[in-house]
Amino acid sequence: MDNSTPEMDEKLVRLLDGDLSPEERITVEQQLAGNALLLQQYDRLLATKAAIRHFGLQQQVGAIHSQMMAELNAPIKKISPVRKMIRYTSAIAAGILLLVAGFFAYQYFSLTPEKVFSANYQAYELNTSRGTTTNSLIEEAFRQKKYEEVIRLRDAATEPNIKNEFLAGAAALELNNLSLARQRFASVIEQNKTANTTVLNDEAEYYLALTQVRQKDFAAAVMLLEKIQQDSGHTYSAKVKNGLLNDVRKLSDQ
C-alpha cells in the first residue's frame, strides 16, 4: 500500500514535530507499523531532524569553545621581582602595623585602676634591725600582719606618731580600706610638713598616689606621681616610670 501522498507526508512531519492529537498519533503509528515504505519515509525525517540537531549542537559548542579558549588561555600577569618585593614588604609592614595597633588597642581598652595598682603595689615591709629588741607593739603587730590590731593600736595611742600613722595607713591599704589609708598617708605628709621633718614622707607619698589610683582620683594621683618622678632624690623616683604615669593619664582620659 502506497501512502506517500502529500497529506500523509504532512502527517508524518506533524508526528515528528509532536503536533498530532493523541488519536491522530495512534492512527499514524498504526499505519507506520503496517507499512515499511512509510516507516522508511518517517526514518528519513528522523534522520533529517538528527542532522539539524547535531549541526546546532556543534555550532553552539564551537561558539562557546571560542569564548572558553579566551577565558582559559587568558595570560596571567607576571609581576616584576621589584613589584613582588614591594608587595610582600607592604604586606609584612601592614601585618606588623596591625599587630602593634592591636596590642595598643588591647592595652588601652583592658587598662583598669586595679591592674595599674597591682602592677606597681608592693606591700610595705619594716626593716629588720638585728639585735634590736625594742620594737613597739604596733611594729610587732605590723610584722605579724595583724593589720586590724595595727589600726586599733594607732587609734589607742595618746600621742601622735608619724611612723605609727604610716603603719596604720599601710595596714588600712592591706585591708582595702582606701579612705582610711588615704587619711593616714595624708596625715603623715601633713605632720612632716608641720614638723619640718621627712619621716617616711617619700613612702607616704608613693602609697598615697597608689591609693588615689584605686579610688579613681586620677587627677590627684597624676599630680603626686609627677612630683615624685621630678624629684631625683625621692626614694620612689626611679619606681615612677613613664609607663605608670601614662597608664594613669590614660585612665583619666577614659
Partner: protein, 201 residues
C-alpha cells in the same frame, strides 16, 4: 559580570537531558575538564589544536549520549569524558596511521567504551559530512530549522525573530526547508547510516 559556578554531576546531566541552561552547562564542563583532557592528547603525540578539536568532538558526543540516555551514571562524568577522550583520540591516531604500539596496548587495557556508545562517537568523517550537508542549506532555512528543532522555539517565537507575515507562512517555510534537507540527506546513503547511528546508537 558573569557568575561562574560548577555543577554537580547530577545537575549537569539533568540540564543536558532537559536542554535547559545548556550554555552554562557546557561552560562548566570546559572549566572542569578541558585542561585534563587537553593534557592527555598533548602527551600522546597531539598538538594543542588537536586537543581542542578532540575536546569539542568529545563534548558533542557526550551531550548526544546523555540525551539518548546512554550515560547511565555508572561512572562519574569525569571518568566518562576521559574515556571518550582517549577513545576519540586513539581512533584519530589510527586514522592518521600514527598510533604507537604503546598507545594501542594502553587502549586495549583501559578503554571500555560500550559498543552502543562507540557507534555514536565513532565515524568522524560521517559526522563531518552531516555538518557539511546542513551547512549547504540556505541561511534562512538553516535559521528556521535550528530555531524549531534545536532551540525548540514555537512558531510564534520564530515569527518574532523573522520577517514573515504569519505563523502559517513560517510553518510552510519550515516544511519546505525540512523536505529540502531530507532530499539532500536521502541522496547520500553513507550519511543516512551515520545519522541512523546518531539516533539509535
Amino acid at each position: 559580570m558573569e557568575v561562574i559556578r560548577n555543577f554537580p554531576d547530577s545537575e549537569l546531566v539533568a540540564n543536558i537531558r532537559s536542554g535547559q541552561r545548556m550554555e552554562d552547562t557546557i561552560k562548566a564542563i570546559y572549566r572542569g575538564h578541558f585542561e585534563g583532557l587537553c593534557w592527555y592528547v598533548m602527551n600522546n603525540s597531539g598538538s594543542r589544536q588537536d586537543a581542542e578539536d578532540i575536546f569539542q568532538e568529545v563534548l558533542v558526543s557526550f551531550i548526544e549520549l546523555v540525551q539518548q540516555d546512554k550515560f547511565r551514571g555508572e561512572s562519574t562524568v569525569k571518568t566518562f569524558l576521559y574515556s571518550l577522550n582517549r577513545y576519540t583520540w586513539l581512533n584519530e591516531l589510527k586514522r592518521r596511521g600514527r598510533a604507537l604500539a604503546r598507545e594501542e596496548k594502553y587502549e586495549k587495557g583501559q578503554v571500555h567504551i560500550e559498543m552502543d556508545a562507540g557507534h555514536t562517537i565513532a565515524n568522524r568523517e560521517g559526522k563531518a559530512e552531516v555538518l557539511k550537508v546542513v551547512a549547504e542549506l540556505g541561511d534562512t532555512c538553516k535559521k528556521i530549522l535550528l530555531l524549531f528543532y534545536y532551540e525548540n522555539l514555537s512558531m510564534k517565537e520564530i515569527l518574532d525573530q523573522t520577517d514573515y507575515e504569519s505563523e502559517q507562512v513560517v510553518r510552510n517555510k519550515k516544511y519546505k526547508c525540512l523536505k529540502q534537507l531530507e532530499q539532500m540527506v536521502n541522496a547520500n546513503p553513507a550519511l543516512r547510516e551515520t545519522l541512523k547511528n546518531l539516533i539509535h546508537g
